[in-house]
Assembly symmetry: none
Homo-oligomer: 216 residues x 4
């Protein structure tokens, strides 16, 4: 693999800063985590977006959250076809091997992936409709959500509604995994849906009673 390059110096410097401070202060904990293994309480599925730091928002330290991040925090339906499903593998590992007690799906405002889905569904992004578009095919998971919100006239509201559909559809798809449904029935796993507003720092959660999201 001839193309790898040395890490930018500013990151090397920051690493040494971390090593000399946070690592040194928590050395005992990191060694314990290495020796005794991880026992995270929750799995979090959030977006790759650089503005979404779920560990900061929930004050989580090393060892607390098993975190899968993909475009638009989507979970595809259960499809055991022998192909590679990275998200399904992460869910399977968290629920069956780590036995997490919670799966938290967190969507967010200003999501580029969700915007892309909206553009694609309204015919504004033909490139995303091509077979070779990985982002387009990935965002297909959210297409049924667009059908549910497309009549909302205000564009900002429609986009927020679609960001929230990304959470709801992922929760629905999670329940199609037999090991998820079984753990939920047994009461050893609970599912949670959140939506994070980046600019104002808000967090809303999905309520099955109202079918809507309310601030926590």
């Amino acid at each position: 693999m001839e193309h790898a390059r040395p890490l930018p110096t500013y990151l090397v410097h920051r690493y040494h800063g971390w090593k000399a401070t946070a690592y040194t202060e928590n050395q005992a904990w990191y060694r314990r985590l290495a020796n005794e293994g991880q026992h995270p309480r929750a799995m979090v599925i959030s977006c790759c977006d650089s503005r979404v730091h779920v560990t900061s928002i929930f004050g989580a330290d090393q060892g607390e959250f098993f975190i899968h991040r993909n475009i638009a925090n989507l979970v595809p339906p259960h499809e055991p076809d022998g192909n590679q499903h990275g998200t399904s593998a992460a869910v399977e590992y968290a629920v069956t091997a780590l036995k997490v007690a919670h799966v938290i799906v967190m969507g967010h405002s200003n999501c580029g992936g969700v915007q892309g889905c909206m553009d694609m569904c309204t015919g504004k992004a033909p490139a995303l409709e091509e077979k070779s578009s990985f982002v387009g095919r990935w965002m297909d998971i959210l297409r049924p959500g667009y059908e549910r919100v497309k009549k909302i006239e205000n564009e900002d509201k429609r986009r927020h509604a679609l960001e929230k559909q990304a959470v709801i559809i992922s929760l629905e798809n999670l329940m199609t995994f037999p090991f998820v449904a079984e753990a939920v029935e047994k009461g050893t796993l609970t599912l949670h849906g959140l939506w994070h507003e980046i600019g104002e720092g808000g967090v809303e959660q999905y309520s099955p009673t109202t079918g809507g999201f309310t601030p926590i």
Copy 2:
């Protein structure tokens, strides 16, 4: 979606703590990030493992890293077959839409996914070989890596070597994406391979000159 439950109270409390402190102190920055969009400098591909916090290790704040996390930080080869490829979608979005300058793949010690791959390749984990095992099919990406390290006798060394193969194979697979190869050729994108030792807090980087990893 009737199965969603309210967020555990301790997380609600922690969120309000974050809102009252970190958010309030950085409100201007979060609003700027919401209004102006994200412009991350790097994409990081790391593991879902709860012990790996790349933002801590590299002192990254909101807005710096576009982060994809999956089991064992793997990138599959370019396969534009119209199916859903979450990792490929994240790479495509980072390189073609966000135009990040770096893609950093970070593996780590004590990786449960890599251990599973080793068990599978040595016949100790028949359940992982089943078609319906998402973890097993995902770890197939690393099988060629096992072939390269299987002759290492010491088990710890063999596992560390396989964890590093997860990085090298992902870098190799990244170069099979035309838009990645093109950006690398043009000099607008560089690739980096890291391996993080959890207990001792070490970080090593892949060097194409030696073909090995050395501490940064």
Copy 3:
């Protein structure tokens, strides 16, 4: 004392969150507690186990419960030999100085200390029998309880019975303290025995009428 280290940063952050929220909202109460002293209504003796939060279970706020926590929620018999008895000191302070109206002993399921006692009494844990084993010597307090339950054949039932003996024996030992017996006779103090089932969230209380425990 050269070995102390700075508090892990995540705890510092959480503290500032608490200070900005719960403390600020309750400042008047905390100041009143500091200026006027504590007047707790009850003393609780519970286990150090990280899964047992008596303040959560009984919705207790700052100032309500004087809480002593030790391994397996044990009270040794009254032994005024001039040696250091931390539990006896806590009981003495609560009953004679604070004049609490209740002493509540709360045992729990899945107790590691009780399991250790069972292992020790059945010869499976020779290390706990050594003079130098603090856990072993502490669990000696529960040995008479093992004699009462050892004929129960089902292992889960035997362990639960021994966890409950830890409560009963502690209540018996409490009555050997003259100041406890006197306050109970005078009707200014009542004793209560509870057992908490962690997984199902149950609480049972000891009834002197039946000699058994029933759900509250």
Copy 4:
């Protein structure tokens, strides 16, 4: 055990409130804790005082902290004499069985036990000097601390200094336990000393560099 009484009704009501809300919301987590056992990151040694809720201050939920509480948060020196040492048993269990990464000793302002020690050392509390006084004998652990602060003229300052000595002496005594010293040398355990000011909600930590306490 004929003296046990039913739990006061207001606590029964609160328990049912907890069961219907916090327990129900976190059922999956409690079951996981029951089935998989506890893996707390830290042991906390704090005072029985009803005003000191370390779980609130540090936003800790069930499963995070193994908590021992005694009068004045004291650790006696290592004394493997075959007698019952509840505090030493708790430390032994936390460090050798649970392998916690941190032991945090937290003292506090307005501590009645420390006030008693001061009164005893200045001849104002003859009852505490009697052999039969459990509180007096327990507070003997802090006598060497009084010698270090007795020249401070201002009484409030002297008492605060003695409250902090309760932390320092406990840290010193912790290091006399061979299994503590060994884990500290190996870097798998760190010790931390805190002092909490109740009225103002402050937390200070001991710094071995300055020998004093500074706000976190």
